[in-house]
Amino acid sequence: MSDITSQSLFELTSNIKEKKLSSEEITKAFINRAEKSKKLNVYVTDNFEKAIDQSKKFDSNPNLDFKLPGIPIAVKDLFCTNGVRTTAGSKILNNFVPTYESTVTQNLWSQGAILLGKLNCDEFAMGSSNETSFFGNVQNPVGENLVPGGSSGGSSAAVAANLTPVTIGTDTGGSIRQPASFTGTVGLKPTYGSCSRYGIVAFASSLDQAGPMTKNVRDCSMLLEVISSFDQKDSTSIDYKRNYYSKELSKDIKGKKIGIPKEYRVDNMPDEIEQLWKNGISYAKDCGAEIIDISLPHTNYALPAYYIVAPAEASSNLARYDGVKYGFRSPGQNLIEMYEKTRSEGFGDEVKRRIMIGTYVLSSGYYDAYYLKAQKVRQLIKKDFDDAFSKVDAILTPSTPSSAFKIGEKTNDPVSMYLNDIFTVPINLAGLPGISIPAGKDKNNYPLGLQVIGKPFDEQNILNISYALEDKINFKNDISDWWLSE
């Protein structure tokens, strides 16, 4: 048996079910490794003591019918966890301990999983490098001083570094898929309405979705099966019949029509990305899929539309952090002064930048020119995909326009940072499911991902295509454990 922490979710659950491993052994193995991995800075808050207690409790009377029997899992610190501090990577929630549990994490615990701790992320999930977190940078285990992507950077790093078997992130414009791509892991953003948003600190409500981040496609299907559920507490949750994603997982994609959108060949795209995409296409062909050239004509407008819609919603969603009810407060002589000091000191620069953009685009006199126009663009982007999906079953693109960059490289250039999301943002705007799988490496040996985009609620199909491609690609993340301390 290989080292516990390097095992996949599938292997760990099998070993528990076959009684080859106990929950306690597994939990302690991950905790031990975490203790030696502080340099990566993946944890904002750990739950190690309670996790060991819970693993012992599980072992004393193990329910092996669970889908995640006694499996310890760390989650992004955007999910509210009952009794465990939840910060959203922000100073303004530095002391916030929820008295309630998000539906998605509750789904994990209801299937036997155990909370290991809360993972670092960009402040309020606003960022593509995990550099906006109040709790500091996260190191990408792929290479020192390399960003892990964002906003679910603590999550992607934790999975790649074998600090959690799987994790869940949230994806508003690429926050699951881009970090997955940067760390050589798998990340899936489900269809909008698949996973409940109840109890997830909101960034942009019409775009936010929780999703699985894992080492491989099979684990991804197992985790999606647990977290996707209809929830009456979220009015945008959709009641539809969800698949048994892991049971129905299949490499047989013969005859599937896969679209290649010409608009994703952006200017200055590195050759290695172009090559990666070509390889993906030929693997898909090898699997018996039919490749079809398609057009998504409004792709160019997706990023600007996104950077209007998301900040607009965020500016309103973040109004509740005002120092009155919970979280950080900086006292003032009067209400206005307290607001100003609390929010000036409590939020970081990127969050403030987006609140200002959002406030501006919603202002009277500008609303029609920005917000309303952006919503119209969004409809056109949706229509592009609808048209495309009348011809194809799925779409294949690169996940990101580049591999992981150095910490600090783009912090002073927000626009170049935003360009990271160019291939992922349209999928959020259209509410579609998208998955990033590791597909190759660049000249520095840093991982690169391919993205498979599906029709609404067609997660099974993109999982199957990814499963088939994964087999052909046979990606191996070579991570040297450079950060480990004794």
Binding site: S316, R320, S363
Partner: protein, 488 residues
């Protein structure tokens, strides 16, 4: 309305007309709030009816309370308004300590209810006031400034309670019309059970828009909005004061600034709250946590079929069926409790007498004791018994008043009072004749005068006979026998 009842404000040789539009905020009668399951009960300890949603905790999401939607539709039907099958909840963004989300969920461009109307019964006839729209929104919490000298305290019990904002067209023209309009709106909602209309508890408040113009002018003047006035009396005072302030400005050759004002009830004047330049930019946009609200025709039909008879229809029925005057009918239908009481009384008694007794004696007692008809000290059952005693001649109207006074004390049965006090009317002709003979004997001089042509003295004899009977003599009988004796 006829010319002579126009409300105009005079200045030298000019006459100004006052244009009024109301935005009424009516609390929806509902057990729980618009987007959460917290209770809406009035008067609870501060911050005891607050859910995580109401206090805007991170990750909390609004879920629409379907009952409140039905209440709004019902009200819309009561206002003869168009129900919009698709409407949208928007966020109205502003910061305040008692607004936990930092925005109020309201409806902006697409309200649930469109144009409707309310009929006013004015002394000179009916007037129709157009309704612009009705939309649903959340109430804010309450800031309390006068408990702690250094801090403002916040009570979130009201945070998230459902309100209907009912916007009238600028078609009201006088404080009297405003009075009748508010009462009519309140009456309709109470009939429907969609708002209890309790102004003391803040269930009904209004923002009042006022502008003035010279009589005959067709363009509107610049308006000012007076925020959050919570009684009809204050609305009327605020309108008169604000209209005069605007007229004074115009007379001085000054301009009126469009602004939001507050009414200071102690000084009886409005003062500026914020100018147009300082107006909030609420940055309305559709709430992404809520899908557009879609209402099916089936639901509208179902609610329509449950609509009770409303004041206007009831009034018509009372006039047609019971032969009431429009004035009487208006009074009796103004409040559902009153009309229910009336219909209960007339189940077993005379309509004319019931109308007079309810609008006369009973209303006088309720007014004096400051009671609602639902708290009436005399039940409908006992009032109808009293009326029957009058009708069948057991007691006279005069004695009935004495009996009624006693009934008030613990809703006593009039039959028992009459029996115990021996108040039964004397209707035996023989007995009456006897006491009349006595009166004639004792007043032979007056009898002579009467017979010589002094007809007015007849009343004197009636009074004497009544006195002789200790008030119990049947007045019709006394009249009849007296006439026979004196004229015979």
């Amino acid at each position: 309305m006829s010319k002579n009842s126009e409300y105009l404000i005079d200045r030298e040789n000019k006459q100004y007309e006052v244009i009024i539009g109301l935005e009424v905020h009516a609390q929806v009668t509902s057990e729980s709030k618009l987007f959460s399951q917290s209770s809406t009960k009035f008067g609870a300890e501060p911050n005891t009816q607050v859910s995580l949603v109401d206090a805007a905790f991170p990750g909390m999401l609004p879920v629409i309370n379907e009952f409140c939607i039905e209440q709004a539709i019902k009200t819309g039907i009561g206002l003869k308004a168009k129900i919009n099958k698709k409407s949208v909840f928007d966020r109205k963004n502003y910061f305040y300590a008692d607004l936990p989300q930092g925005y109020q969920i309201s409806q902006y461009k697409y309200p649930i209810v469109g144009e409707g109307k309310v009929i006013l019964d004015m002394p000179n006839g009916q007037k129709e006031i157009g309704i612009e729209r009705l939309h649903l929104e959340q109430d804010a919490g309450k800031s309390i400034h006068d408990i702690d000298p250094n801090n403002t305290l916040v009570d979130l019990n009201r945070s998230g309670v459902a309100l209907m904002e009912i916007v009238s067209k600028p078609e009201l023209r006088s404080p009297d019309e405003v009075n009748v309009y508010i009462k009519k709106l309140r009456s309709i909602m109470r009939y429907l059970g969609t708002c209890d209309g309790n102004m003391q508890e803040g269930s009904l408040r209004a923002d009042v828009n006022v502008s003035v113009r010279l009589k005959g002018e067709t363009e509107f003047g610049t308006r000012c909005e007076i925020k959050n006035v919570n009684s009809i009396k204050f609305m009327q005072m605020a309108i008169i004061s604000e209209a005069n302030r605007q007229i004074d400005l115009l007379e001085d050759g000054k301009e009126i600034d469009q602004e939001t004002r507050l009414f200071d009830t102690k000084r009886n004047q409005t003062r500026s709250m914020r100018s147009k330049e300082d107006a909030h930019d609420y940055r309305y946009f559709p709430d992404p946590d809520l899908l557009p609200l879609e209402i099916s025709q089936e639901l509208i039909e179902k609610i329509k079929s449950d609509i009770p008879e409303l004041p206007d229809e009831k009034k018509k029925r009372f006039i047609d069926k019971f032969n009431l005057s429009p004035y009487e009918a208006t009074i009796l239908v103004s409040d559902i409790e009153t009309s229910n009481f009336f219909e209960e009384v007339i189940k077993n008694s005379d309509v004319k007498l019931a109308t007079n007794w309810i609008t006369g004696e009973l209303f006088a007692v309720l007014n004096e004791k400051n009671l609602e008809i639902s708290q009436s000290p005399v039940s409908a059952k006992n009032l109808s018994k009293l009326i029957n005693l009058i009708k069948d001649g057991t007691i006279s109207g005069k004695i009935a008043k004495t009996v009624f006074e006693q009934m008030i004390d613990g809703d006593q049965d009039p039959l028992i009072i009459v029996k115990e006090k021996g108040l039964k009317q004397e209707s035996d002709p023989k007995a009456i004749e006897e006491l009349i003979n006595k009166v004639i004997e004792n007043n032979s001089d007056k009898v002579a005068e009467y017979k010589s042509g002094k007809d007015k003295l007849f009343g004197f004899f009636v009074g004497q006979a009544m006195k002789e009977s200790k008030g119990k003599g049947n007045p019709q009988l006394i009249n009849k026998i007296l006439k026979e004796k004196l004229n015979g």
